[in-house]
Amino acid sequence: MKINVLRLSFQFVALVLLQVLVLNKILLFGYATPMIYPLFILSLPVNMPRWLELLLAFLMGLLIDLFSNTGGMHAFSLVLLAFARPVILIFMAPKEGYDPGEIPSLYRQGLAWFSVYATLALFIHHLSFYVLEVFSLSYTSYILGRTLASVLFSFLLMLLIEVIFFINPKQARL
């Protein structure tokens, strides 16, 4: 398998900066704060070594935590997502299986597949994040409200980014 280190590094840095400098400061309707950096983990090749996936997730989460004063909440949630992704991928595998080195994307898999894949992953990530943030069961409605609102917001932004950067088939295969 060939990993395009340059493309990965660019995505990594760009998503961290976008999250820390812009998205963390958004609060829509008092509920929704988008987090789209999980897109980095979501668009790793399907046969990425799992240990590498976990380490990258940890590194990225910790970097965002450092800039957002959140201890290790982003790291925990992203590692959880990275651990769950192969399971989601197996559940959603097409009949003929994935191509080796295939990158899950809106362009390759289509809107329906990508929507289920992304919202499921985002839900795991966001729910874990808000549970850790509140750390109390007496605010369940707050946790669920923020999770659902933020998943919707993050997903729409993620679609937008997919459309802008990955819709060109040549780029998608880079």
Partner: protein, 274 residues
């Protein structure tokens, strides 16, 4: 079980072990950050993340110079008006209970390095610490109004529990008649808080000013908290249900004042005995 089989076991489930290790590490960091203000803070880590954030705020602070100037001019205008009024011998329009306040309270300016307002519990980091005689328990205001309370300081930085925190409760009063109440943040909106325990009947109306009561050791009386935005009285209830629009814009907070209360220890010692 031989050593070889243990090693084989670990190699076989290495992904799961790595997952456990990384998650435990994350949880440890979270724990350390959440108990930050209760324990004696690790000066090194606190200073380090403070410095990183200071660099970031140095870069972005140029973008807001205009807004900062405007707010300083507004503050100057307010103080000038006050000085004129004092010169005319007119009573001050707020609830400064005691002229001795000016001797008891000392204001120290500081720059905000980061201000959170989208989290469940929000904190603010400023660029002054224990070397500048900042200590936990100091009240924090701005030229807009009350900001929060200092909860920890490293040598060069301090962390403030902002009004937007579920553990904070400020003793407040209605500026109009001095009636006491209590201000808490119930989450959701960074500009709205709830005023509790304002007893019926009261002349409270939408638009009324809410200020600090001055009974705690954190703030002198009369510091601006906000204005009444919405109020209702359920039939048969003893208290009003009031929503306050906070006067401090936590998303545009660049400079704050820390309040050093010379009599804080004395009052706290006395009240502990109560």
């Amino acid at each position: 079980m031989s050593v070889r089989s243990i090693i084989r076991f670990i190699v076989r489930y290495h992904v799961f072990f790595l997952f456990l290790i990384l998650e435990s590490l994350s949880l440890y960091f979270i724990y350390e950050q959440k108990t930050f203000h209760r324990q004696k803070m690790l000066a090194v880590t606190g200073d380090m993340s403070g410095r990183i954030q200071e660099i970031y705020s140095d870069v972005t602070s140029y973008l807001v110079l205009g807004a900062v100037n405007d707010s300083l001019m507004a503050e100057m205008a307010r103080l000038k008006t006050k000085a004129l009024q004092a010169g005319d011998g007119l009573p001050e329009p707020d609830f400064r209970s005691d002229t001795l306040d000016s001797l008891i309270y000392r204001y120290i300016p500081a720059r905000v390095i980061r201000s959170d307002y989208t989290a469940f519990n929000n904190y603010i980091v400023i660029d002054k610490g224990s070397l500048d005689s900042i200590h936990p328990g100091m009240g924090v205001t701005s030229n807009y109004g009350v900001v929060g309370i200092v909860v920890s300081s490293s040598p060069h930085f301090s962390r403030i529990m902002s009004l937007l925190h579920h553990d904070i409760q400020i003793s407040a009063r209605l500026a109009k008649n001095g009636q006491l109440a209590s201000l808490v943040w119930e989450g959701h909106h960074p500009q709205r808080a709830a005023l509790r325990y304002l007893t019926y009947p009261s002349p409270v109306a939408v638009g009324d000013t809410i200020v600090t009561a001055g009974s705690s050791t954190y703030f002198p009386g009369g510091e601006l908290l906000g204005t009444v935005e919405k109020m209702e009285l359920e039939p048969g209830a003893d208290f009003y249900k009031i929503t306050v629009r906070l006067s401090t814009p936590f998303d545009r907070l660049h400079y704050v004042y820390l309040i050093d209360n010379a009599l804080q220890k004395e009052q706290e010692t006395l009240e502990e005995g109560l």
